[in-house]
Chain length 294, copies 2
Amino acid sequence: MKPDWIAVDWGTSNLRAWAMGPDGVQAETSAALGMGQLAPADFEPALLGLIAPWLGAAAMPVIACGMVGARQGWFEAPYRAVPCAPVAAGQLIAVPTQDPRLRVRLVSGLKQTAPADVMRGEETQIAGALTLLRDFDGILCLPGTHSKWVHVSAGEVVSFQSFMTGEIFALLRQHSVLRHGIAEGWNDAAFDAALSQALSRPEKIAARLFSLRAESLLENLSPELAFARLSGLLIGIELAAAKPYWLGQRVVLIGAPQLCSPYARALAAQGLQPETLDATACTLSGLALARGLL
Amino acid sequence: MKPDWIAVDWGTSNLRAWAMGPDGVQAETSAALGMGQLAPADFEPALLGLIAPWLGAAAMPVIACGMVGARQGWFEAPYRAVPCAPVAAGQLIAVPTQDPRLRVRLVSGLKQTAPADVMRGEETQIAGALTLLRDFDGILCLPGTHSKWVHVSAGEVVSFQSFMTGEIFALLRQHSVLRHGIAEGWNDAAFDAALSQALSRPEKIAARLFSLRAESLLENLSPELAFARLSGLLIGIELAAAKPYWLGQRVVLIGAPQLCSPYARALAAQGLQPETLDATACTLSGLALARGLL
């Protein structure tokens, strides 16, 4: 049985595709082939390598979001300026392909002029979240490599702000002097204390980071505690800066559980009761919405 | 002509040695061989490979500072606890060697219990600076991979604090998404504006970093301006946190000119008139002092 259409989430590092039928997902597949590894001419063969078994004689609609539409991606899908609906009718970008069985459309990212900011991929998750939540007005938070805080009202993205939290966490953990004393692990009390320190004195971040190293040398700080504290420090300064977004607001987190869980804990400590939506569910809802708007 | 002794600065990445005679430096040599590349058994051959031409029949005093004395270095020179003189009589650590022509002594690093902090190598520069400045009471700032702010009084290090500023700068510039839009360069106005932003709203750092990326995409921010702004942002949050050290104090910077110059500009913008000492001159003065205290 062939799908009605194919949903694609194509980021910097990964390509994921879903065969979509009348009742939703029929099959899924993925590969570690992202914009970071591919030249423009490599995208079509990479996609065909994954989805060929799902193709028939007729042209198959493929709706894709993410860095695939960046200037260094397959084909540039220009940013749309906020305020605007996250995904809008008539705005998908057609990609020329060699194989006539493919009919590829890209979802554009969003841009904001002041302060300058951009997103690609998250706009689709936001559109999906608005479909799932119905009549949502409030704040969406999408933790990740470049976390996004998004103010949504009347079906439009009003404003948003990105934070390099996830990328800084990965760089410090893998490439800095802290790597000698950090290992995946968790400790609620260590996370909470670091979060509170960072929220109250965010400017001390570069010193508190070094003290993870010093405590590891002088006090045998456990690598798992260091992991939780690093997470608390970096989420803490993000929350300190994003306060105008979340203070007194309804906040919905969108992401994988292990990404959302420390943010939910951190927001709960500020008296909020954030809801959580699964990132993949939002992506698929958003791509389905985009297809419907073609 | 053989030297009286040999001064060695041996860090994570580099080994530098100076042949010292009655009138100071007779010759110098260096190699990109630091603690990061060497196992304990590699240190003696690495040193001999550089300084063998300076050795005679008699045992040659070699005074070394830096990561060579770390637990992962040649031979551990335990940290001394502040408050204490940066280098003190009877505190040098003798290193066992196979070659009888070597008589190696290491300068210990310093540690602080609360907040936990450590230094290795800087204590020697501090000792040298105190020799050069005479009766100095005040604040020393040593910009670098892990910048140090040091309160000195009555010949002792009273307290100090380290910041990961230099390491974070290098990671962001070389490994993060910002690498696409940053190139070595300078712009005073861009540095000053970023410095001021970071000093007044330090918690926004992770968002302001991402806006370098967004402005590069949306407004063709020049890579040289981005470099100066990144420097201003990171030095700005360091100054915000180190304010209890520098506010109303006499500050002396120790470092290479290209490292000290943005710190001097940043401190001048806060109304200070920092002096600057050359890092190598301080290291050599400190090692000479250590030799005299043997």
